[in-house]
């Protein structure tokens, strides 16, 4: 039955990226990745990017969104080169030294971005991400409410679309195919 619904999605007209996104999202930022290298919204290799705001050891929505991003990179590897990227909402824990391993456990290509509060705020503002400290878990530390959508960016960092993290990998892959397929 799921397949029937997916077929409906597959048979729909292919999306094109030329129409403007009806949400005011995206923009320039400069942060630092887990190797200590400065990185902007553009991917150094020009890969399309899946961007999420979270924290590397988050057990809430990130535990749905980050594995979905990793799955999509692998599932579409034969069609598109995708880069999964997470911008931290918890720079105190997600330092350059700490942010990489939990993400690379999910996928070796995962990029974790951190920075100063001012640097990160530029990215939060660009994506209208509100962050709220909810409580301190005695075992895992601070728990935050934060943005919950995955953004699809092109290689230059322009936002193409967004993915609710509740989508199945198959549904999300169809959206990415429609958005990233060459026009014509």
């Amino acid at each position: 039955m799921i397949r029937a619904a997916l077929i409906l999605l597959c048979l729909a007209a292919p999306a094109r990226a030329e129409a403007p996104l009806p949400f005011d999202l995206g923009g320039s930022f400069t942060l630092t990745d887990q190797t200590g290298t400065p990185r902007s919204e553009a991917d150094p290799e020009g890969r399309a990017q899946l961007l999420f705001f979270g924290y590397a050891n988050c057990l809430q929505i990130c535990s749905a969104a980050l594995p979905l991003m990793a799955d999509l990179v692998d599932d579409l590897a034969g069609e598109f080169a995708l880069r999964p990227v997470m911008i931290t909402v918890d720079p105190a824990r997600d330092t350059v030294e700490e942010i990489g391993p939990p993400l690379e456990y999910l996928h070796p290509d995962f990029v974790g971005l951190t920075g100063t509060k001012a640097e990160l705020q530029v990215a939060y503002d660009a994506y209208s991400v509100e962050i709220k400290h909810i409580f301190d878990d005695p075992e895992y530390g601070p728990i935050y409410a934060h943005g919950s959508f995955i953004y699809l960016l092109d290689g230059q960092g322009a936002v193409l679309s967004l993915l609710p993290p509740i989508l199945s990998p198959e549904q999300a892959a169809e959206i990415l195919r429609a958005r990233l397929a060459p026009a014509g």
Partner: protein, 148 residues
């Protein structure tokens, strides 16, 4: 069991092109989209209303974006409610969990999905689907064992 929610997600969403926003008024329930679409906690009739209220609070607090399940079965992914940019976990989202509301806002379609920016909650009718009498608490473990 999953066909209905998935079909609802796709309903009225045939154009995949980015669309201009359309002002609409929607009457429906603020739902937990994770449990509604995944089916992991039960069928669509069980993961709404009073039966699923506690779990809906947990999911929203955990970052699951809320949706608005309209009376015609269409599900709108809620991007904002009355100026709050939070799609989950905010005070407004938690206060409205499982409630039937009348919402005025801007409707967008993107990639076959429906999105709604709720500009005003015109009416909040509280929880109107009292299905806990049929289903109990869904799932039972949403309420800690000592509190049941």
């Amino acid at each position: 069991m999953l066909l209905r929610p998935l079909a609802a997600l796709l309903a009225l969403a045939a154009p995949l092109h980015a669309a201009e926003g359309t002002r609409i008024s929607v009457t429906g329930e603020i739902i937990d989209t994770w449990c509604y679409f995944s089916g992991v906690m039960g069928g669509p009739d069980a993961v709404v209303g009073s039966a699923h209220h506690t779990c809906a609070l947990w999911c929203s607090a955990g970052g699951i974006p809320v949706g608005l399940l309209a009376e015609d079965g269409t599900v709108y992914m809620v991007l904002k409610i009355e100026g709050s940019a939070e799609s989950a976990g905010g005070d407004t989202q938690l206060n409205l969990a499982s409630h039937q509301i009348v919402a005025d806002g801007m409707h967008y379609q993107r990639d076959g999905l429906n999105y709604l920016v709720v500009e005003k909650v015109v009416t909040d009718n509280d929880i109107t689907v009292e299905n806990h009498l049929d289903y109990g608490t869904v799932p039972p473990f949403a309420i800690p064992e000592g509190e049941r």
